[in-house]
C-alpha cells in the first residue's frame, strides 16, 4: 500500500512537470486519475527494493548531489577524457570496487555516476556481493595490483559513494 | 428474333431454352438406344464381374491410370516450352519481387514513351 501511494505521488509529480505552465483544475484531476492507474500498474516494480527514497530530505540531498559534487566530477572527467582523446595516452584496465552499498537503487545510482564520471565505466556487478567491476581509462602506474578499490581511489574530490549512501540507504 | 436472343454478342446469340430442348432430345435418344440393350443383364450376379482370362482380379492400385500418365505425349511434344517455363517459376521470393519491379519498369517505360 505504501509503495502504491509513493508510486502514485512520484507519477503525479512527473505529470505535473510535463504539464507545467498549464495547470488547470481538470488537468490536475486527470493527472490524479492517471497517476492512480499508473501506480496500480507499476507499484510492484518501482518500489520493489527500497521504500525510502521519497523521503523529502533525501530528495533535496539528491538534487544537491546532482548539482554540486556530481556535476563537478563530471566536468573534471570530461576534461580528462578530452585530453586523453587528443593525446591518446591511455592505460586501461578493469578493477574491482566495493561501494559498500546494499540496495539495488543505490548500486544503480553509483554505477550510473561512475559511468558518467572520471574515466570509469561500470562493466559488471556481482549479484550477491554488490562488487562493481569498473573499467578505468587510465590506471595510475603501480595501482593495478590493488585487490579492491575504495571510493577515494576512484573519485578525486568527493567520495560519491558516501553521498549515494546518504541518499539511497 | 429479339425473344430468341437472351445473350447476343455481335455475331451470334445464345438461348438456354433452345439448348435445353436439344439436351432433352439427346437424353431421349440415349434412353431409346439404351432400351435396345440386352435385357438379360442382372445386378449382383456373376455377370457384373469382369472376366479377365480366368486370372484373379488384379490390385486396383495397379490398374488405375494415374494422373502422371495422362497427357504424356503432349508434355513430351512441348518439352522445350515446359522446361523453360518451369525453370522460370523458381519459387524464390526475391524473383517474385524482381518480376514485379520488372513489370513496373516496363509499364512505366511504355506509359511514358507512348
Amino acid at each position: 500500500m505504501i509503495a502504491f501511494i509513493l508510486t502514485a505521488i512520484s507519477a503525479y509529480l512527473a505529470y505535473l512537470i510535463f504539464t507545467a505552465g498549464s495547470w488547470t483544475g481538470q488537468e490536475l484531476i486527470a493527472g490524479g486519475i492517471l497517476a492512480i492507474i499508473v501506480a496500480a500498474l507499476t507499484s510492484g516494480f518501482h518500489f520493489r527494493n527500497n521504500k525510502i527514497k521519497c523521503n523529502p530530505i533525501r530528495m533535496i540531498l539528491a538534487l544537491l548531489y546532482v548539482l554540486i559534487p556530481f556535476f563537478i566530477e563530471m566536468a573534471k572527467a570530461n576534461i580528462d577524457v578530452a585530453i586523453r582523446v587528443f593525446t591518446g595516452k591511455i592505460r586501461p584496465g578493469i578493477i574491482k570496487y566495493n561501494p559498500q552499498l546494499k540496495s539495488d537503487f543505490g548500486i544503480m545510482l553509483i554505477a550510473n555516476s561512475i559511468t558518467l564520471t572520471p574515466g570509469t565505466l561500470a562493466v559488471h556487478v556481482d549479484e550477491e556481493s554488490n562488487d562493481l567491476y569498473v573499467h578505468l581509462l587510465n590506471i595510475a602506474p603501480g595501482k593495478e595490483q590493488k585487490g579492491s578499490w575504495a571510493g577515494k581511489d576512484i573519485f578525486s574530490w568527493f567520495d560519491l559513494s558516501a553521498w549515494v549512501r546518504r541518499i539511497a540507504e | 428474333m429479339e425473344y430468341m436472343t437472351t445473350l447476343s454478342s455481335g455475331s451470334g446469340f445464345w438461348h438456354p431454352l433452345l439448348w435445353l430442348t436439344a439436351f432433352v432430345v439427346v437424353v431421349v435418344l440415349a434412353v431409346i438406344i439404351r432400351s435396345f440393350g440386352a435385357r438379360k443383364y442382372k445386378m449382383d450376379t456373376e455377370q457384373t464381374k469382369p472376366f479377365l482370362s480366368g486370372n484373379d482380379e488384379s490390385d486396383p492400385n495397379e490398374i488405375h491410370v494415374r494422373a502422371g500418365n495422362l497427357y504424356w505425349g503432349y508434355l513430351e511434344t512441348l518439352k522445350g516450352y515446359y522446361e523453360k517455363m518451369i525453370s522460370l517459376h523458381t519459387g524464390n521470393p526475391a524473383d517474385y519481387l524482381l518480376w514485379l519491379f520488372g513489370v513496373l519498369a516496363l509499364v512505366v517505360l511504355i506509359g511514358l514513351l507512348a
Binding site: - | I86, H89, T90, G91, N92, P93, A94, L97, L98, F101
Partner: protein
C-alpha cells in the same frame, strides 16, 4: 532543382531499398529493404505537405500563421503503423521458416515451385 532535396533523398533511399530487396538473398535483409522503402515513402508523404517557413499544425503556444498540411501527416502516421505491423508479421514468418527449413536464403525457400 536544388529545392527538391527531400524528394531526391526519397528517390535515393527508395532505390537503395529496392536494390536491397532484389540484390540480397536473405529474407531478413529483404524485409529490411522493405523497411527502407517504407521510410522513403513516409518521407515523401511528409515532404509533400511541407510549406516554406510553415509551422506545425498545432495551435498550442504557436503563432497561427502559415501551417504545414495536416493530411499528409495523418497519412504518414497511418502508414508508419501499418509498416511496423507488416514488418512484424513478415519477421515472424521468417522466423518460422527458419525453424522449419533451417535457412533464410531465399534461394532455398522454394519448396513450392513449378
Amino acid at each position: 532543382m536544388l529545392a527538391n532535396v527531400p524528394f531526391i533523398a526519397f528517390a535515393l533511399i527508395a532505390i537503395i531499398g529496392l536494390a536491397t530487396m532484389i540484390m540480397r538473398k536473405n529474407i531478413i535483409k529483404i524485409i529490411l529493404g522493405l523497411g527502407l522503402l517504407e521510410g522513403a515513402v513516409n518521407l515523401f508523404l511528409v515532404a509533400l505537405g511541407y510549406r516554406q517557413d510553415g509551422i506545425a499544425p498545432i495551435f498550442t503556444n504557436a503563432p497561427s500563421t502559415k501551417m504545414v498540411l495536416p493530411t499528409v501527416q495523418a497519412m504518414a502516421l497511418t502508414s508508419i503503423v501499418i509498416g511496423v505491423a507488416t514488418m512484424a508479421l513478415l519477421l515472424s514468418f521468417a522466423v518460422f521458416i527458419y525453424k522449419k527449413y533451417g535457412t533464410l536464403n531465399s534461394d532455398s525457400i522454394n519448396r513450392l515451385k513449378g
